[in-house]
Symmetry: C2
Subunit: 552 residues, 2 copies
């Protein structure tokens, strides 16, 4: 058995295109919209993108195809972390390209942007493409995290493009990769290379989102996969009635994944990093909030529960970030050696006590010993604390346990608290794409080729109206520069696509905030179950609660 029954069945799935792309290549024409300007810093962005700034938004509609009939040779790369549906972007791109002209060529550059630089590629064929239709993973050509951003890299890419006669490059990636797509597009235009560049919005984190990108692909499938297992754990908790499960989910810089999973599963607790930052919550505040739920439930005889913790949560806690900064400062330069030479933890503790501010020392003292030691003993080659290695779900459950011990000593709390820990990340990044992601990604790829065919560059493949059935989706393109602003990155002002954090005034968070006090005390769990690719449309075609609430 090499192929699973599901994989064989999914090969047969026909992804749904937006209505206006369903009439065959010859019946797709362009409707030009308004001229665009960047969301902020217009003058600076315009100056940086003289050849690609200010172009018009376009949408496709049914009508005679008027595009130029030249042969297209397109290169495609996958950039960054895996997201379900990446294969379908490439399949959609391939199908549109071959339907337009069977002599057109699609080259997949391997292992991410570095494949483009190292000229490591594979030419796509019917047979090869067919073996990846509607499957998860990025194994079709691999991915990588090399950033395509320097002039030197662009020169190499230009050479590679010239060698193959590339007419266009499609970059499938997150916010940084799409920013780089815009910069590359400008470079290619400025140097009259004739190479167009199109971006496609990918990331399971959900943080590539704005008025033009309703959802990045992969978010739907990944959150459904996490919600499946979280729901299963909730049902287990509610059956065994003896454990509190602390479940960490992927999402370092934003808490969209945690929020969507909470909307799907209605756990007792879900922390949202953006709220923690906005309210300047302390570790103690967080521990108290969870302990309140544990205590209230214990009073009802329910010594069990489920808490969802976003991966990056502690980095949102201001006092914790301050502690980290102080530790990095404390161990900079020569003092690192002094610290390392201390023979035991007790003398190291003494060193730490002398070196930290009173406030940070108080925070440090709160931490369980395994985190204290981790902060000082496991630093990166630059001597910095590796915050990403801290198991925040264990840190938080340990703070909750301490808080409950204090309450117990005071006679306030009489329950039992047995925590268990989970982390879900890799489980969701390569699942078979949901019907939504399979359709959306295929449409993004198909649409990307139409943008190429009509000569656009520096555009993002845009498919919108996603909360509606695919028939009503709107396909078109938007200049990437429209989404940009200037941000300070590594000490430099850079034009970038703004990362979308959870909007505390947005409908998804407001819905959650309105329900969570009830969920904290009652057992209001919802069990989503496994992603279904077949069956009633209400089960297999529904997208995220986030999207539904945002577009109600």
């Amino acid at each position: 058995m090499k192929l699973s029954p599901l994989q064989e069945a999914r090969y047969e799935y026909k992804p749904k295109l937006p209505g206006m792309l369903r009439n065959g290549i010859s019946e797709i024409c362009v409707k030009t919209g308004e001229k665009t300007k960047s969301v902020a810093d217009q003058e600076k962005i315009a100056a940086l993108f003289p050849n690609t700034y200010g172009k018009c938004e376009i949408t496709f509609e049914k009508g005679k195809n008027t595009s130029d009939n030249k042969k297209q040779v397109v290169g495609v790369i996958l950039s960054g972390g895996q997201a379900p549906g990446g294969h379908n972007v490439i399949c959609g791109l391939y199908d549109a390209l071959k339907a337009t002209n069977k002599d057109n060529v699609l080259l997949g550059f391997k292992g991410g942007p570095s494949g483009l630089i190292e000229d490591d590629y594979i030419e796509m064929t019917d047979q090869y493409i067919d073996s990846y239709r509607n499957t998860g993973g990025f194994d079709i050509i691999g991915s990588g995290r090399t950033k395509l951003e320097t002039e030197e890299q662009f020169e190499i890419v230009t050479e590679v493009a010239k060698k193959h006669g590339l007419t266009a490059i499609v970059i499938i990636g997150g916010d940084d990769s799409n920013t780089n797509a815009a910069v590359l597009a400008e470079y290619m235009a400025a140097h009259n290379t004739g190479v167009q560049v199109i971006g496609c919005p990918k990331t399971i984190d959900g943080d590539l989102k704005n008025e033009d990108i309703e959802a990045s692909f992969g978010f739907d499938t990944a959150t459904k996969t996490y919600s499946e297992v979280i729901g299963n754990i909730e049902r287990d908790a509610n059956s065994a009635k003896k454990y509190w499960h602390f479940i960490k989910v992927m999402g370092r810089s934003a808490s969209h994944v945690a929020l969507e999973c909470a909307l799907e599963t209605q756990p007792n607790i879900c922390l949202i990093g953006e709220e923690v930052a906005a309210k300047k919550m302390s570790l103690e505040d967080i521990a108290n909030q969870i302990a309140d739920s544990v205590e209230a439930r214990a009073n009802n005889g329910d010594n069990f529960g489920v808490a969802i913790i976003p991966e990056g949560i502690i980095e949102f806690v201001p006092e914790f970030s301050k502690l980290i900064a102080e530790i990095n400062e404390l161990l900079a330069g020569e003092s690192a050696e002094e610290f390392n030479n201390l023979v035991d933890w007790a003398s190291k503790e003494h060193f730490i006590e002398r070196g930290l501010s009173d406030k940070s020392m108080k925070v440090f003292a709160l931490l369980p010993e395994f985190v204290q030691k981790q902060l000082f003993l496991e630093r990166d080659p630059h001597g910095n604390v590796q915050v990403s290695l801290i198991e925040s779900e264990k840190l938080i459950s340990s703070l909750v346990a301490d808080t409950l011990d204090v309450r117990k000593a005071k006679g306030k709390y009489k329950g039992k608290f047995s925590p268990l820990h989970h982390f879900f990340g890799y489980e969701g990044r390569c699942a078979f794409p949901s019907n939504f992601d399979a359709d959306y990604c295929y449409s993004l790829g198909y649409n990307a080729f139409m943008l190429i065919q009509y000569g656009y560059t520096g555009y993002l493949s845009k498919v919108s109206n996603l909360a509606k059935p695919a028939e009503e989706w709107i396909a078109g393109g938007m200049p990437i520069t429209k989404m940009m602003n200037i941000e300070r990155r590594n000490g430099e002002d850079k034009p970038v696509i703004r990362k979308a954090l959870v909007d505390l005034d947005g409908a998804p968070f407001r819905y959650f905030a309105q329900k969570r006090d009830t969920w904290a005390v009652e057992t209001a769990y919802t069990y989503p179950g496994a992603i279904q690719y077949y069956g009633p449309s209400s089960v297999c075609d529904i997208t995220t609660r986030t999207l539904a609430l945002e577009h109600k």
Copy 2:
């Protein structure tokens, strides 16, 4: 949103019964088979079960129902860990009971066997039952781990039964619970209580299996859930190409779960506890076996992989068990205090070195420090090492890393080794039952009532021929005593159902053993994807590879 779309849809699912149970209650008659005897220790078992030993196997077939028309009041309990489909056993039991006589009553005793002792129950109604059809979890009445085995408990149960006029008790549980069902049945018969007892075979571990039990329920759904996420991780590994994933799966006393997951997903490595024990493998042997795969793959440029580790693996390693025994011995009595009074780890290490045999000291020296410390510092209230707390996936990956370091120093190995760790257990115990488990469990419950109705006691609800479509399944009953033998448990000879370990001569293991050398080097991953409840029958009605291979 309280109910998920899948939960609403699953309420409508009609579980498939074996053909002979499909013609309505009035058309089910009994075909009596051979007299039975226990698989071993016949005289002893016969002496222990004078009233229930040696009865005939029976099967049901289409024919006029000749059972007695008395009113039935049945009690049901769920015992032990959750397994998908438990709710459907109760639904099937309820439907048969009500179809036979609408005045019949089903009482669900809450929180496991203790509910029966504490007389804590709920009377089942249509509405209540309907809200649990085809769902996962044991939350319908809860479960518990109290063992029903003492004379005193049986007296209380008899009182409770008398109070409610119980005519039968159905016990849904694992090997121990079914053993106890047989003992309770004998007690009830010996004391002329008129209460029948029927058992149903549950456990996700797959270790309740013999010539009469082809599969325990829940195994199918749980292994499908684990295989889904393992497959997703495989696809991620094969896309990112930079991590070795060590995945621990539930199953302490047998490795059926790990083996089934390996057959479904074709990982590079899967350890089987029974093989480790049979071959008396050392920790070094295990580390070398995995390191060989890592090295061979690195030579092909593949610095990634997936290894499945059964939860109980280290307890199968003879030298490790010996080490544990020596540590328990070493810290028994007064020396524990002496050890605890030593101020630092260095002096403790010295104490350990003096106390262990040379052989065990060598094993101890191999272990990573976090395991060494855990063995000595985190003991249970009796001073014993808590082997179950050891994170064997981390222990093993750490041994592999050490082995690779040695090979690297010798210039034999030149790859990169970045391990990541996962544990899947709670994720699978309460999933929505697969169609197979939904059908099998409903049939077990329906069939259990028919056994009650025809006056049987001490019987196991038996549904067999499971590798075939449900239409061809065979429903009937088998005296539980037939599956018993005498084993030494806690210093006493006890009649018990033998736990089924992975048979190293059985077809599933032999298939695995024949393939694994290829899988260790090549990337032969299979991606099962999420359990499907709808769609092509090849996708949504197929049961385990284990069952298919055992009954080929």
